[in-house]
Symmetry: C2
Subunit: 279 residues, 2 copies
């Protein structure tokens, strides 16, 4: 009977929701509390997962700004439709920072980092997944890609002048032309809708014109700064797991009753990486 049930399960076409629900505990990894950045505003609180594995020096700079409470009293200063929400420490000029300049960190050596290729073509090169993130690679380099919710470090024209004091999150069609032109440092994993629904700014590039339009940052903390009992706990699906490989296939061939014609392919940003509050 157990064998029959297993055969039946294997024969049942899988849906996205079903795969996520049935994934074993080993298909999930906990997010360390020092990688969880909690951004609180009067318009809603957002949780960001940082990506030190891709941009270690940028993430260290951001953690240092958080530790010294430099973001508290800052604001969301820009919302550009189909593009980005951008926020900054207090007193920022809205374009770049005044802290120590950081190296670009736009890519990392591929060696030593597992990569699950997306088995469909990508107009920008070779896309896939590495250590729980949407990524791409070429030769011996690997990098994060600009999907919805990804968080990057604003900079001016010089490639090295971001200092982590200006951050943005993608709220539209993936602006993949920014890949390897800006350092990506994380992604919004909870409540991005609090920010993506903010009024768009009326200045060029969606900057807010006046101070009252800006949304205050009440406090920005790492989960590791909180007492253990009050830390939010999240886990992300392991992108090297069998569950995740099944999920890629199910995203490319949607089997929910609504669909008459499965697409037979999917782009990297429509393969959403499951993240959940820890059960």
């Amino acid at each position: 009977m157990i064998i029959l049930a297993a055969l039946l399960a294997a024969a049942t076409p899988a849906t996205v929701a079903g795969i996520e629900k049935d994934a074993p505990p080993t298909a999930w990894r906990a997010i360390p509390p020092e990688n969880l950045m909690l951004v609180n505003t009067p318009k809603g609180n957002v949780v960001i997962e940082l990506a030190p594995g891709f941009a270690p020096r940028h993430v260290a700079a951001i953690r240092a700004l958080v530790a010294s409470h430099r973001f508290d009293g800052g604001a969301i200063i820009r919302v550009q439709d189909n593009y980005v929400v951008q926020w900054a420490i207090k007193g920022s000029d809205g374009k770049t920072g005044t802290g120590p300049k950081l190296p670009p960190e736009y890519e990392r050596p591929a060696e030593g980092h597992a990569f699950t290729p997306l088995p469909y073509p990508d107009p920008y090169g070779r896309a896939g997944f590495s250590e729980g993130w949407q990524a791409a690679m070429d030769g011996d380099k690997q990098w994060l890609v600009h999907c919805y919710g990804m968080v990057g470090v604003g900079r001016n024209l010089a490639p090295d002048n971001g200092d982590g004091s200006e951050l943005y999150a993608v709220i539209g069609q993936a602006p993949r032309h920014l890949d390897r032109n800006i350092a990506l440092v994380g992604r919004v994993i909870e409540n991005i809708e609090a920010w993506s629904a903010l009024p768009r700014g009326s200045e060029a590039m969606g900057f807010y014109k006046t101070d009252p339009e800006k949304v205050a940052l009440t406090s920005v903390r790492l989960a590791s700064d909180l007492p253990a009992a009050s830390r939010p706990r999240f886990e992300v699906m392991d992108t090297g797991s069998a569950s995740f490989r099944a999920l890629i296939e199910a995203r490319a061939n949607r089997r929910e009753e609504f669909f008459n014609r499965p697409a037979g392919g999917v782009d990297i940003c429509n393969v959403k990486i499951p993240v959940r509050r820890q059960p």
Copy 2:
């Protein structure tokens, strides 16, 4: 001197903004007033271009609903983050309509319709542009694709039960898995930010829970219903023009000073088709 200037111009790498600015009048086509749908709400007025060349019976049904003022007093009933804004005639159940059922119209014969291929791979098949629209084709069929701002006809599970009384606009990463599963009938060409910034609904799939959350449709009209002098007039770039082909290339290889590394490719939805108020 004129020859020298032309040589210099040819040698100057083109930017997206430059190409659009320099496109000759012949690279633009006026949008007929019967294809302009003006949707007015207390939260902002939006202009939609209809696509009768792709979904003639759906567009005819929508024009009939507009002519009988069936949308007036209707509402925006659903806003789902990174997905769609949906609106409906008064009294709609929020899922489907009660009017005559329409045939799917998910694709059209390719014959007789020019197609400018996107010269980069697409994970969903063969993407390109036809008659001013982002499209795709396979064999002898051609269809519209679900880019940001595209407008489609809501339906329930049966493939033929949309009647045009429930419409949605894409406000996130292109949900290309919907291509050929729903009839696309147009696109928002002005002020989508008035709708994409609306609060997300708290019910399943982003439906608003209560009537006060909904955004009223004050009036919905075609430009052709207005006196000629008060009609808004728009034009769209001809996707078969030399200017548009240059624009595809400039989108794939951004040359603005900000970019250090051009992507060398672009997805169909990041090749925005220029639309402007008629000069």
